[in-house]
Structures are given as structure tokens and as C-alpha cells.
């Protein structure tokens, strides 16, 4: 149900609600006014009523909006996804999500082009040049690197081709909108959950992602913002795992050898390495709380082995949202400069501040491969084939 539909239902119910006492009535009016303001604001941003991520609804600061009237065109459109690579399952599911949203909007999208740079910045620059030469109406880019792709994205921007950055931005602000989900929030949520689960006391180890990668470093910063508030939580060791399952297992095994039963919890920021870590913990017979991303292999193992866990998603479905944002741009509707994608917290155990958005088993798919990545807003199963 969208917020707008919920509001309509609320309005229909109002006469009955009037029978409530004065305080309850005031509360209702307050909720109504607040909701109306939000829905009004959202209505400006969207063509259709739709639910927005709570990260947008909870942003306490002014949302920087981009006027896109100069990009307004009549449909049908030719759009493109200039992808860094499809070298991992997350990126693959992202492409499927785009195809799904494009299919749903086939009356507006005449043609949708895909390029794959195989993680090479030079190839992606050439891909961008091709797309610009083909005079596509809008480009969604997941940049191989922030710096290398910046000049070409800037050129496209200056030539009047709207560019939307997805998940990995370019260095400058020369794009219309950046669609991603906060890695800082992710790190904070993981740290809060683990610290609260351990009741503020215990030894933990920190498994970081790929050394130097923006996503990995931002999650670490988020964690560092929280941990000082819990002086009873001691970080025994931090190691990078290069987002790799086998490195995750190797590193966790070595940590188990070094610290053994002293480890009370594992703060792991990624999905692939969480699978390796949980394998190592299970083999050592240590059932300690662990965090990760909802990679199916991790979800299945948590359920099967019975670990306390939190998974925070970085949904590949955000790729599909880029298409929606792109369509808004081409219809001249204002869009947020920094668009925060939707996300779930999925926990086996709730803590004071981190409550699970859905039961663990609803985010676990026994029939799907280990490398499948779950996330908010994924298209129906038949589209993910």
C-alpha cells in the first residue's frame, strides 16, 4: 500500500475516529497533518503514488532537489546503463531489476542499452563515448572508479545528457542524481545491533571489506562513530577480507586460533566474507552473534546453524529505482540530488534500537543459490531468472 492509498483509507475512516476522546483526536490530527505534509512533498517528486525509503522520510535536513525541467522530453525514450561490470551476483541482480522496471514502463522506454566495462575504467570511458555518440536520452552509470570516469561524465553533463550515478558515483557533482544507500548507516546499524545484543560488554572482531573501496571504508567509519559509545565493547582485531568468501574463512580461522572463546561477536560488513566467517565459526563450534548482508548463503547458514545475526541490505533493486528516477528526470520532475534507496534490517533477535523489518525466514530462499542477493524492492521471482 502506498502512503497515498493509506491516507485515502484514513480519510474514509475519519467519521468513526471522531468518536475518540479529545487527546486521541488531537493525536490523529497531528499524524494527519504530518503525513499530509510528507505526502504533499512526495507528490511533487513522483508521477505516481509510491512508497519511499525510510532513509528519505527520516532525513532531518533539507532535501537538495534538482530542477530537471531542461531535460524534459516527450516519450518514448532511449536510455542506457553504463555498468562497471557484472562480475558478482549483486551486479547481476541489479541488471535484472533494471530490465524489470524497463519492462513495466515499456510505453515510455523505446530502447534500453546496456554496456559492461568488465571493471576496467578505460573500457567504461569508451562505453560512455559510444552511448553519447548514439545520443541516448539519459545514462545511468555505475562507475568503475570515482576519478577516471569523472571527466567523461562531466562532458556528458555539459552536453546536456542527464547522468544518474548508481551505487558508485564520480568525484565531481556533475550528475543529476546519485542513487545509493548509505554505507555509513549500514555500519552504524551493525555496530549498534551487535553492541546492544552483547549488552554493551564483550570482545569482538571486525571483518572489513575491500581495503580502500568506498563502500568498505564508509561502513567502517559508521562503525567507528558508534563503538566509542560502548566502552565495554573491545575490538580484538580488525582485518580486511577483500569481500571474498575464502579470505573471510581464512581470516576468521586465524582469529579463532588467536583468540578462541574470547571472541563474543563478529562485526562483519559484507555478505560474501560473512559466509566464510560463519563457516569457520561453525567448524570451531562457536555460536556468536554475527552481522552481514543478506546474501542467500549467509541467510541459509544463519538459519541452519542457529546463529544470532543481523543482515542489512544494500539492495540491488536500487538499480531499478534509477530507471524510475531517470523517467522523472526526462519528464522534467524535480529529483533529489542524493537519492537514498530503500533497505531492510533483518535480524534473528531484535535489540532496543534495531528491530527486524521482516522475519529471517522471509528473507531466506532455500531453493535459490548461495550467491543470490536479497534486498528491498526486488522484482518478483520470475523476473530474476
Amino acid at each position: 500500500m502506498t502512503i497515498r492509498e493509506a491516507l485515502v483509507l484514513n480519510l474514509q475512516k475519519l467519521p468513526e475516529d471522531r468518536q475518540m476522546g479529545g487527546v486521541a483526536m488531537k493525536k490523529m490530527i497531528l499524524i494527519f497533518v504530518v503525513t499530509s505534509v510528507w505526502v504533499g512533498a512526495i507528490g511533487i517528486l513522483t508521477t505516481e503514488g509510491r512508497d519511499w525509503a525510510r532513509s528519505i522520510l527520516w532525513n532531518p535536513y533539507k532535501q537538495e532537489m534538482v530542477d530537471t525541467s531542461k531535460y524534459k522530453k516527450n516519450p518514448p525514450y532511449t536510455m542506457a546503463y553504463c555498468n562497471a561490470s557484472v562480475s558478482n551476483a549483486w551486479a547481476v541482480v541489479g541488471v535484472q531489476a533494471i530490465k524489470y522496471v524497463v519492462q513495466q514502463n515499456k510505453d515510455k522506454v523505446k530502447d534500453f542499452l546496456f554496456t559492461d566495462a568488465m571493471d576496467k575504467a578505460d573500457k567504461q570511458i569508451a562505453d560512455m563515448e559510444d552511448l553519447m555518440a548514439k545520443r541516448v536520452d539519459l545514462i545511468i552509470i555505475r562507475a568503475a572508479t570515482e576519478a577516471a570516469l569523472d571527466p567523461i561524465v562531466t562532458r556528458a553533463h555539459q552536453q546536456g545528457i542527464p547522468v544518474i550515478c548508481f551505487s558508485r558515483r564520480v568525484k565531481s557533482d556533475n550528475f543529476v542524481s546519485f542513487v545509493a544507500a548509505s554505507n555509513y548507516t549500514m555500519g552504524r546499524a551493525m555496530a549498534i545491533w551487535l553492541a546492544q545484543y552483547l549488552k554493551g560488554k564483550g570482545n569482538i572482531v571486525l571483518l572489513a571489506g575491500f581495503a580502500g573501496a568506498g563502500s568498505a571504508e564508509e561502513r567502517l567509519i559508521g562503525i567507528q562513530e558508534i563503538l566509542p559509545s560502548y566502552p565495554g565493547i573491545k575490538v580484538l582485531e580488525k582485518q580486511y577480507t577483500q569481500y571474498s568468501t575464502s579470505k573471510g574463512k581464512q581470516v576468521m580461522q586465524a582469529m579463532i586460533q588467536s583468540y578462541g572463546k574470547k571472541i563474543d561477536g563478529v562485526l562483519c560488513v559484507g555478505g560474501s566474507e560473512a559466509i566464510g566467517a560463519i563457516e569457520a565459526l561453525q567448524e570451531a563450534g562457536m555460536k556468536v552473534p554475527i552481522t552481514g548482508e543478506p546474501y542467500n548463503g549467509f541467510m541459509k547458514r544463519v538459519q541452519q546453524y542457529g546463529f544470532p545475526a543481523l543482515a542489512v541490505d544494500y539492495s540491488p533493486a536500487m538499480a531499478g529505482e534509477c530507471v524510475t528516477v531517470g523517467l522523472n528526470v526526462l519528464q522534467g520532475l524535480a529529483v533529489p540530488k542524493y537519492y537514498q534507496g530503500k533497505r531492510y534490517f533483518i535480524a534473528t533477535h531484535d535489540t532496543e534500537d534495531i528491530k527486524s523489518d521482516l522475519p529471517w525466514k522471509e528473507a531466506t530462499f532455500p531453493d535459490r543459490p548461495d550467491s543470490f542477493v536479497f534486498g528491498y524492492g526486488l522484482p518478483p521471482a520470475e523476473w530474476l531468472k
Binding site: V86, S87, N88, A89, A91, V92, V93, V95, A211, E237, Q239, Y240, T241, Q242, S244, T245, S246, K247, K249, Q250, V251, Q253, A254, M255, I256, Q257, S258, S272, I275, G276, E279, E283, A284, G297, P369, D370, S371, F372
Partner: protein, 313 residues
């Protein structure tokens, strides 16, 4: 004095391995714990299997090496998961398919090197990239399936107190040593590596030997890939990433010369052990895991310079 020098030159790698073990157990009290040794030996077994195949290729000399091994490992890993879907009964047919795949890749590599005269580094590099593409088309980016318990047992289990993977590696090692030292093929292989013109003049079918060598490497990589998959337990498109460099490093450290005709399997296994112990030590000493890359690079350069100096004398 001379005999000590000779001893060091001939058995330098084993002495180094012994010193490394002693050093490791001194600096890290956890090193010699049985569980830590198991942690070292399980991934070492997979690397050892690949490195045995690599030894055969490098022994042929004239720049012979196989860069496609890691790609073969990853490809068989995804094939095995998709084909068995976690069922033990399907493991044997899956293994046959995987080994046949290794044979096919080796046959193509060998054919390119012998018949089309493509330098081995280019032929196997090309094959590595082609296999990546094949894998992504086959899996559509998301590898399907899971590994059967039997494969997990092979990758992580024990017979008595010995890890299964170590037993398997030992068996492969014995076979490799017998093939290299007790068969006509083995003797001809050393001859080809030592002096290919002499080998041709002696009437050896050098092309056949080279093709067989690449087939052996492909099969060894397939077996290594299956064991590594059993150890990790997750079907992943990048199983074995970096094993091409690791296996070459182990072979070079083990004293097998790029000039060909010199070296053998025991040295390679010692090289494998040195490599994985150093990796483990990095973690036990709480150094950043990226230090492993520096260790790997440093060891390759050190080993290569050591043997070049030795041979120059």
C-alpha cells in the same frame, strides 16, 4: 665446507621450510596447534594439486606455464554445484564431467602451443579470459546449486586425524613422482625440457608430450578446484582466484626452472607449504591481510634470484 654448500643448494628449500616452521612456532604460540595446522593444510592441499600440474608444464621449459588454472578451478566449481545440486549420488558423474573439462582445456592449450606455436603465456592467458566469459554465460552471473556433503567431506573432513584433502594430495603426489621418474613419458618430459632439439633428434614426439603436459595441468586444476570448492562450501564465480600466480610461485620456489628440465614435485609441495605458512603467519601476527600480497611477490623474486645465482655458478 663444500659439502655443506652443496647440501644447502640441493636442499635449500627444505631447510628453509624447516626454519620457517621453527620460526613460526617461536613467534606465534598458536602456530603448532593441531587446528591451526589443519587450517593451513586444507587450502594448501588444493594449491598443491594445482601446483603439481603447473610443475609438469614449467618442466617443459621455454616459457612453458599455465595461466588458465584458476579459471579452470572456478569453472569446475560452478559446474559441480549446478550439476550435483547438493546430491552425493551425482558427485561421481559431476567429477567425471569436471575432469573431462580439464582434459578439454588442456588439449586446447597444448594444441595452441604446439600446432599454432602460440607462446604458452599468451595461449593460457587467452584461455583464462575465454573461460571467464564461458563461466558468466553458463551461470548468468549467479552460480546455481550447492555442494554435496561428500565433497564437503573431501574438502574439510578427516580420516582418523589426517585431513582428507591431505591424503588426496599425498596420493596425487605419489602418482606424479612415479610418472615423472619411473615412466618413459617422465623421462621424455625431462628431455624435452632439457633440450628440445636433442629430444626431437632422439625421435620423441615432442608435440604429444607437450599436449599431454597441458592436459595433466588442466586435470590437476580441475581436481584442485573441486577440493577448494569443498573447502569453501559456496559456489562462486571466483573460486581459486589468484591460484595461477600462487601455483607458479610455489613451483619456482620449489626449484623447478623456467628453463625446463630441472626440478620436481617434492620441491613444489615444499614451495606450497612455505607460501601457505607465510600467509597464515601474516594473520597470526595480526599484520594486515594485504601483507600477503607483499609476501607472495617478495618470495617469488627471492626464489627466482636464488636459483639464478645458484645456476650461474
Amino acid at each position: 665446507m663444500v659439502s655443506v654448500k652443496l647440501l644447502f643448494e640441493k636442499y635449500g628449500i627444505y631447510i628453509f621450510l624447516l626454519l620457517l616452521v621453527v620460526f613460526s612456532s617461536l613467534v606465534s604460540p598458536t602456530f603448532l596447534r593441531p587446528q591451526n595446522l589443519v587450517n593451513i593444510l586444507n587450502p594448501a592441499a588444493a594449491l598443491g594439486m594445482v601446483a603439481i600440474g603447473q610443475t609438469f608444464v614449467i618442466l617443459t621449459g621455454r616459457g612453458g606455464l599455465d595461466l588458465s588454472v584458476a579459471s579452470v578451478m572456478a569453472t569446475v566449481a560452478v559446474i559441480a554445484a549446478a550439476y550435483t545440486r547438493g546430491q552425493d549420488t551425482l558427485l561421481l558423474p559431476a567429477a567425471i564431467i569436471c575432469l573431462s573439462f580439464g582434459v578439454l582445456v588442456g588439449l586446447i592449450n597444448g594444441g595452441l602451443v604446439t600446432k599454432l606455436r602460440v607462446p604458452p603465456i599468451m595461449a593460457t592467458l587467452g584461455m583464462m579470459i575465454i573461460l571467464q566469459g564461458v563461466r558468466f554465460i553458463y551461470t548468468k552471473g549467479i552460480p546455481e546449486g550447492t555442494y554435496p556433503p561428500l565433497l564437503r567431506f573431501l574438502g574439510t573432513g578427516f580420516v582418523g586425524f589426517v585431513p582428507t584433502s591431505v591424503l588426496s594430495l599425498s596420493a596425487m603426489m605419489i602418482i606424479a613422482v612415479l610418472v615423472l621418474n619411473k615412466t618413459v613419458f617422465g623421462r621424455q618430459l625431462y628431455a624435452v625440457g632439457g633440450n628440445i632439439n636433442a629430444a626431437i633428434l632422439s625421435g620423441y614426439n615432442t608435440d604429444l608430450i607437450l599436449i599431454l603436459v597441458y592436459i595433466i595441468s588442466g586435470v590437476a586444476a580441475s581436481i584442485g578446484g573441486l577440493y577448494l570448492a569443498g573447502w569453501i562450501g559456496v559456489a562462486d564465480n571466483w573460486v581459486g582466484q589468484g591460484y595461477e600466480v600462487d601455483s607458479i610461485a610455489a613451483v619456482v620456489m620449489g626449484g623447478t626452472s623456467f628453463e625446463g628440465g630441472r626440478g620436481g614435485v617434492f620441491g613444489t609441495i615444499a614451495g606450497v607449504l612455505i607460501l601457505v605458512i607465510l600467509y597464515n603467519l601474516v594473520l597470526l601476527l595480526h599484520l594486515p591481510v594485504q601483507t600477503q600480497y607483499m609476501v607472495k611477490g617478495g618470495v617469488i623474486i627471492f626464489a627466482a634470484s636464488f636459483y639464478v645465482r645458484r645456476r650461474a655458478r
